[in-house]
């Protein structure tokens, strides 16, 4: 405790003061209130908090992480090359952990009246839009949300005006903090009525860097009346990262939110994916893959909150875990009394590739409305002996057979990604995570 009082760590009064000095009044008030909430709250505990029961962060000492310095050498280039490979036509916003934000290739969007800027800049210039964007994130929603609300910097802001179909996607790269440092990635997106956008959020760091880091992220998404958002979050943080994330999409009437995500990195992740279906007829499809190996502990929590009538949601999370990796999933479909004719579904599938790997999935339903259709399911399986034998009987060695089965297992999610270059990129990320020894990437021939 004495350390915390003396060192100017990332999580400190000094950090807060530095943020307050550069924040407009409304934001400074918000940061102050969030800091008060954060310091008054105990850290989540696996003994006390139900949704933390299977994820123990007792060994996390936030006071040991320093403020983020400049991005690691080569990291900027890595982030840019991922964009260039997967979706070169997208506008690119790179947010560095120390707050520097650079934007490229956004001319077409700006000409459409789309706002794309650092979140800090937007907080100065478009306070009402940023406040709208943040309206779904309470300052004291949780310990890590409060921390983020007080200390985020840099960040990405995108606003698409009413009726505008964004001509190009937006690619947001959040670079990981340096060794023993903390980053607070921030993305806020506001879509007005009848607007549409494709967003990629890439959390990227040096792939093999064994240094500890912490990442506390919030992605706040507001979809107006009949808006469409395709949201592609990719988390591939370095292997010793503690990652805490909240991603919340609030959907107005007839809005359609589609998430297609991949979770690959970090040592320990606790990630919340919330969709709030406020308006009549709002819809959400959440499809994600997760590959965990070594000692990774990857925890996904989801909320499908049906508030409006005739709302629909569907979630599928497919996990493959190897070595000693652990997957934890908890999901809730919450149907409020006004949400008649709600239709909600949640499924968590797990494929265990090693004796030491484990997975737990606990989807739940809370239904307070009549005339609804809701379902949930969870499965845990292994690579089937018959599948393995069939592949081996064709000459394919056991380890390659396993890789084929795992790729196949993820295919039904990845095949839903309509952008071919992005899908190929995600497949290649998964291939390298699974460990591909083949001479070429294993794509479709021809």
């Amino acid at each position: 405790m004495t350390e915390a009082a003396t060192a100017a760590g990332a999580v400190s009064r000094e950090s807060l003061d530095a943020r307050l000095a550069t924040s407009p009044g409304w934001l400074a008030d918000r940061r102050n209130a969030a800091w008060d909430a954060f310091t008054a709250m105990p850290a989540p505990s696996s003994a006390r908090d139900e949704d933390w029961r299977r994820t123990d962060i007792g060994r996390l000492h936030l006071d040991r992480f320093g403020p983020a310095g400049p991005a690691a050498p080569g990291l900027l280039e890595l982030a840019r090359s991922r964009h260039a490979t997967a979706l070169p036509g997208a506008a690119l916003l790179v947010s560095e952990p120390a707050g520097t934000v650079t934007i490229d290739n956004a001319e077409a969007l700006l000409a459409q009246g789309v706002i794309i800027s650092s979140l800090e800049e937007a907080a100065e210039r478009h306070p009402e839009l940023v406040q709208r964007g943040l309206s779904g994130i309470g300052i004291d929603d949780s310990y890590f949300a409060a921390l983020w609300n007080s200390l985020w910097l840099g960040g990405a802001f995108v606003y698409v005006p009413a009726g505008v179909q964004a001509m190009t996607p937006v690619w947001v790269s959040h670079l990981a903090a340096g060794a023993d440092a903390a980053a607070f990635p921030a993305t806020v997106v506001v879509l007005d009525g009848h607007a549409s956008l494709t967003l990629v959020e890439d959390l990227v760091g040096p792939a093999a860097d064994p240094a500890a880091r912490v990442s506390v992220a919030v992605t706040a998404l507001q979809l107006g009346d009949d808006a469409r958002l395709d949201d592609i979050p990719v988390q591939q943080l370095p292997p010793a990262t503690w990652h805490f994330a909240l991603r919340r999409a609030s959907c107005g009437p007839s809005a359609h939110y589609r998430l297609l995500g991949a979770t690959l990195g970090a040592r320990l992740q606790k990630s919340y994916w919330d969709v709030i279906l406020d308006g009549r007829g709002a819809e959400a499809d959440i499809l994600a893959v997760c590959f965990a190996d070594a000692d990774q502990h990857l925890d996904h929590q989801s909320l499908q909150l049906h508030r409006g009538p005739d709302t629909r949601s569907n979630l599928l999370l497919k996990v493959a875990a190897r070595d000693r990796a652990q997957s934890v999933y908890g999901g809730l479909i919450d149907v409020e009394p006004g949400a008649i004719h709600a239709d909600g579904y949640v499924v968590n599938r797990n494929l265990l590739l090693s004796q030491g790997a484990s997975a737990s999935g606990v989807p739940r339903l809370e239904i307070k409305a009549n005339d609804v259709r809701c379902g949930h399911g969870t499965t845990v399986g292994h690579v089937d002996d018959e599948e393995r034998f069939y592949l081996m009987a064709r000459g394919i060695p056991a380890d390659e057979a396993e890789r084929l089965v795992v790729r196949g297992y993820f295919a039904d999610v990845l095949d839903r990604l309509p952008i071919e270059s992005t899908r190929d990129w995600l497949v290649s990320l998964l291939d390298s995570e699974i460990g591909d020894r083949g001479p070429s990437r294993f794509g479709e021939a021809g």
């Binding site: 089937d384 002996d385 018959e386 599948e387 034998f389 069939y390 592949l391 081996m392 009987a393 064709r394 000459g395 394919i396 060695p397 056991a398 390659e400 057979a401 084929l404 089965v405 790729r407 196949g408 297992y409 993820f410 295919a411 039904d412 083949g438 001479p439 294993f442 479709e444 021939a445 021809g446």
Partner: protein
Amino acid sequence: MPETAGGAQVVVAGSGAVVAPTTELHVDGLRVAVEGKPILDGVDLRVPVGEVHVLMGPNGSGKSTLAYSLMGHPKYKVTGGSASFDGQDLLALTPDRRAQLGLFLSFQNPIAIPGVTTVNFLRAALRAQGKELPAREFIARLGEEMGSLRMDASFRGRYINDGFSGGEKKRAEILQLAMLEPRLAILDEPDSGLDVDALRIVAEGVLRVMEKSEGRMGVLLITHYYRILENLTPDRVHIMHQGKIVDSGGPELAHVIEREGYDPYITATSPTGPEVSRR
């Protein structure tokens, strides 16, 4: 290399030692148990490359067990005897190594592997066997073979065996046979459940692969039906009963089975094990 057509030739090498000249499957006294239950009770069998051998026998006699055991399914435990191909001890090899050696098993009911397309599956198999083709050549060959088997082009992108009908699965197995060009094809009931037209397509497919191999592929065909043999004339027919080969002969033996069934074997063999057979 001396080309041989029959199974029993030997040549005298320069030194005067007698060696077997043929590449062949050589099974000697093979005993196999499944989950502790003995199924094969000393199988002796030789299948030289270039020949078609047919294995017939009543249900439960051990035909499929022999096929799976030769390919190395982990569920089938070898408790005695030996099996070799081209002089190599098969029993010491994992299934992938057996396939790389030239063995192929056409499954009676192949499993679906969701998410793995037929194309990607075949490319992985060819690569693993060191037979990878340039993409264009591969696609051309695949198109040709699929055409011969009257398979729709959509099968390329479909997940292997996933949602295939029984007949489509059989054809997909023969497609793999054609693409992989093994030296020994073990075909486990490639004709079961097929209508007349589908049966002819499958039989012609096997025949085409045989002809293309120019005597470098042997076939061990497991079947219940005489009909497929109208297209594929066997060199030898073996009858299996209670885990043993109880009779072998030329193609005429299949005619006898077609007419008389297996009853003569069943009644002939039961007295040899009275304690067992009366229970």
